[in-house]
Amino acid sequence: MESVDLIYKAIYILVIFGITLLIATYSTYFERKIAAFIQDRVGPNRAGPLGLLQPLADAGKLFFKEDFIPAKSNKALFIIGPGIAMLVATMSSAVIPFGDSLIIGGHEIFLQAIEVNIGVLYVFGVVSLGVYGLMIGGWASNNKFSLLGAIRAASQNISYELAMGLSLIAILMMTGTLSLREIAEQQQGFNWNIWYQPLGFIIFLVCAFAETNRTPFDLPESEAELIGGYHTEYGSMKLGMYLFAEYINIFVASAVMATLYFGAYNFPFMENLRSAISDPVLANNVVTLVGVGVMFAKIFLFIFFFMWVRWTLPRFRYDQLMKLGWQILIPLAILNIMLTGGGILLKEYLF
């Protein structure tokens, strides 16, 4: 790889990292605003115009609070816990194609940090590691409620990972590739996977809620039963990192859903737009930039959906959660695989 490409790549990675953190920061603001809207309140409106500086104020408060470590906790793991949660959360955006290629000065730059031919597996692997931050932090707190939260997080994560993997298999059977870039390219124009995989998408969506520990699956931190679950003993920026990691996970889950099912950076009539501009380089760049905008619009819609559900649905009971995962979602996902396989065979037979 040339050094120029390396510099572009470094800039791109830094930009994606910054955007991830920015979106996570402002997700906290929009969560409170949306909650306020749904409950007919005003929401944060003191810090800055429309309360836009509220996330900065929150972060400042969390940084300056006393960094408290319980006396009987396992100190090393207590500190490492939030770090792992944050590290794992920021890892998965590396393989997501946020846009097609830009052509600058004869260089073709793909708007994707790393292109690996196992992109889907990479995302799945990182998602499956997400629970360690919660488990280690919850155990190291040496508190019964934290431990219960950690144990719930583990069993929930394991249960929903299966259904998630099975719903992904149907997508892989259809696209025939594990690379997220190729999956995105196959959904050219309006040929999105959601039209072929509606059931798979619903299963994936439910599992994404469970994997990110969002309501109605936020049993690891249900404050009514477990005080705060795995983060009962946490305060100051360590707590902030757990909350931050949750919002980054939501962003990444939204990006993955947009890529796998909603056509990533593809939008209807993109070929018309491309042919409307005479200069091919300019046309490519305009289509790519609009595509990036469309991708982020899709991501924001999903993030809004996450928040909408949080303030609409109540929490599941624990046995209901397990029943939904094992007795409803997994059989449905297997049915979806069979239907997809049948569909592929039928298509080959007919055409």
Binding site: N74, L77, V116, N117, I118, L121, Y122, F124, G125, S128, L129, V131, Y132, M135, I136, W139, N142, L147, A150, I151, A154, S155, N157, I158, E161, L178
Partner: protein
């Protein structure tokens, strides 16, 4: 590449040792997870990306979560700093058994030749998903399917064992 391999290999051995040495079972599990990561690193160095990802998903992502899950239930209510008591006899027995294994290893590896690859027939893409799928579903289809039947049997057995029986409960 060479130095990366030696760094990864020494890290793997160190973490694997720490799994055995750590007094706290939770620390052991965490070192075991790091060991799996370094092994995945070795797979990537060997250009077997699929194997690396599956190793992370299956071992680090699922099995180790269950390990941690079970170990977190242990030692509850007791002082976690209480050390495991080992008698002198079992220490001696352990040392003898380990030493014997070491002797056997040396005897076996003394005359072993280090296999190198043939540059003529070497295919760097052999570990990629496509090639792995071709090999599994074309050359080794029967063993692959038999292994999956074996897994299914084990799963049914596990469900049978875990299921509550009607009548008196045994636990």
């Amino acid at each position: 590449m060479e130095s990366l391999f030696f760094f990864l290999a020494s890290l793997t051995l160190l973490c694997a040792l720490m799994v055995v040495i750590s007094k706290n079972p939770v620390h052991s599990v965490i070192f075991l997870i790091i060991t799996f990561f370094t092994i995945s690193g070795h797979y990537i160095l060997l250009n077997a990306q699929f194997l690396a990802a599956v190793n992370i998903i299956v071992y680090a992502g699922a099995i180790m979560v269950l390990f941690l899950f079970v170990i977190m239930f242990l030692n509850q209510g007791k002082d976690s700093s209480a050390e495991v008591k080992t008698s002198t006899l079992s220490k001696i027995a352990g040392a003898v058994a380990g030493g014997l294994l070491f002797v056997v290893m040396i005897a076996a590896l003394k005359d072993a030749t280090v296999a190198t690859y043939d540059p003529e027939s070497f295919n760097s893409q052999i570990g990629m998903v496509e090639n792995l799928g071709m090999v599994l579903f074309r050359d080794y289809l029967l063993p692959f399917e038999l292994a999956s039947v074996l897994f299914l049997t084990a799963m049914v057995g596990a469900v049978m064992l875990g299921k509550k029986e009607t009548g008196e409960t045994h636990f």
